[in-house]
Amino acid sequence: MAELSLREAVARAIAQEMRRDPNVVFLGEDVAAAGGVFKTTTGLLEEFGPERVIDTPISEQAILGTIMGAAMTGLRPIAEIMYSDFFAVCWDLVVNQMAKTRYMTNGQVSLPLVMKTGNGGGLRFGAQHSQSIENWAMAVPGIKVVMPSTPVDLVGLFAASVRDDDPVLFLEQKALYTVKGDVPDGDVCFELGKAVVRRMGADAAVVTIGTMVPRALEAAEILAKEHGIDLTVIDLRSLIPLDTACILEHVVRTGRLFTVEENPRVVGWGAEVTSIVADECFFDLDAPLVRITTPYIPLPSAGELEDKTIPSVELIVETILKRMV
């Protein structure tokens, strides 16, 4: 057992998988000698050498094409796309190639690969370095979408992603890199598609993921202490596959749903969860289904503005208070 930051958990997870399987290779911009711009991959070059841990040019299409071609010919590659916003320059490889190739070839081609990336806002990096792209990927069938909120989940879900035979988009929330937690020694590997109930409560189900998990939990504590509202908080951990059973169970039990997400509202994953609930347990509902999201704007850069944009503990508390009446 070791206490690690989420940042440190990344190198721990990659190293675990590279030790286990010589077919795992890792490439990206500044990931090797420099140990990554977020310092998440320090030490990997030293342990695994330049054949397996590779600094690339600024060529995101080539990076993703390379891991796709490598995956279809026997490797299990991992690529880093530095900031998730940069997926826009190589989106074709993700949505038209990786997502569709197994299906189009009637199952001939396997693509066991992981794309890891720094996702989300909160660091005052401005609109082109702060986006949450989980719903971009959900919109295209064929990509698994994983987002851990704790160091141990990062390791366990990363291992599961590497061992999965399908392409996985693995989202590291930049705002969570400093979060600490215990990670057991030895092989850590979880299952994709299993949500975790982080808090049990009778009054409403709050469904969330990533950076919003600690905020929703903090809001729940405030609401419990100050207002006697007792919330269930569900950490989805992956969006594809989605643990709908867990969501429905707790919505049915509590009669109410709030989603809390970083996406700028329109067609976010919260809309998908809400729509599933509105269709599949309509008659168990006591109240409107409420989404708490970033507004429909690019993220502003200044601290004051960014803090009022991404859902905060205060916004979650306020919204739930207002809508629980």
Binding site: G69, G74, P141
Partner: protein, 341 residues
Amino acid sequence: MTEDNTATATVVGEGAPQLTTRLSLFRRMTELRVFEKRVYDIFLQGLVKGTTHLSLGQEAIAAGFGEAMRSDDWTFATYRGHAHTVSRGVPFAPIMAELMGRRGGLMAGKGGSMHLTSVEHGMMGSYAIVGAHIPIATGAAFSAKYRKSGQVSVCFFGDGTTNIGAFHEALNFAAVWKLPIVFVCENNLYMEYTAISAVTAVEHPAADRAGAYGLERIIVDGNDADAMYEIANKTLDRARVGGGPSLIEALTYRHAGHSRADPGKYRPDEEVAAWIAKDPIPNYRKRLLDAGVDESVLDRIEKEVAESVDIATELAKASPPPGEDLILKDLWSDGSSTWRN
């Protein structure tokens, strides 16, 4: 590195290949020609829905590489991929059935004409987004190098494809890591309906860019099967021994339009006529006759090919539609398309 625009770095067609090889090249080209003419016929009969892109006139390129490649080498092609698929030994019938959207198709009708793939034959896919497969083919080469397998990745694409970003990124990648890959630009002078010369800053869209990646400038007569075979061997060998990538520009012409029933009217009549005169197949036939091959040998090859295309056509036509049971299958490795519980 030769960077003189007027010279062609690679002198080709000097040492003619063995006779057996030449007969095989002839057979391969004949297969491609007869097969694609049949595809065009059944397209006009309404049996092929959607679209189809023929390589009529460009056969020498696929044939030359098909002959030279090792069976475990990899081919990456475009929507114009029939020729490269046949050339890797994929049987006619499942290709034809795929074009017709039948269950017996190479991908059971799920992929269609633009995505022919047969991993078993090293045919690693046909890609319908211009340029997308160039980085993917580069990844296969990365894997061959990493696993020291001696395999080579061969990536075919058109002249128009040299102007898209993915081309540039992949070429640099491959060159930096000296990956075992051969990039083959089939310069047929046109994109869809627009001449490549109208939208490209250099005369030779691939060869004039080789220097940008530290590569040799290679232009070859893409209508000459012997020349294609020779350059294929040379570049495959280079890749296999760790000499890194090559970029070949093969000059050729498509006899038909870009796709489907396009009559190709945007091309001047004289230009079309001049290139029809350079048709790789009758010219090669003549070359073989001149080299002393008995005409009956060539006739027999033609007859055999025609028969096997006939049989394949009937097989494909007899294949049933794919069946709805396939729709929700094989998105994921567990065979399902389930994304939620």
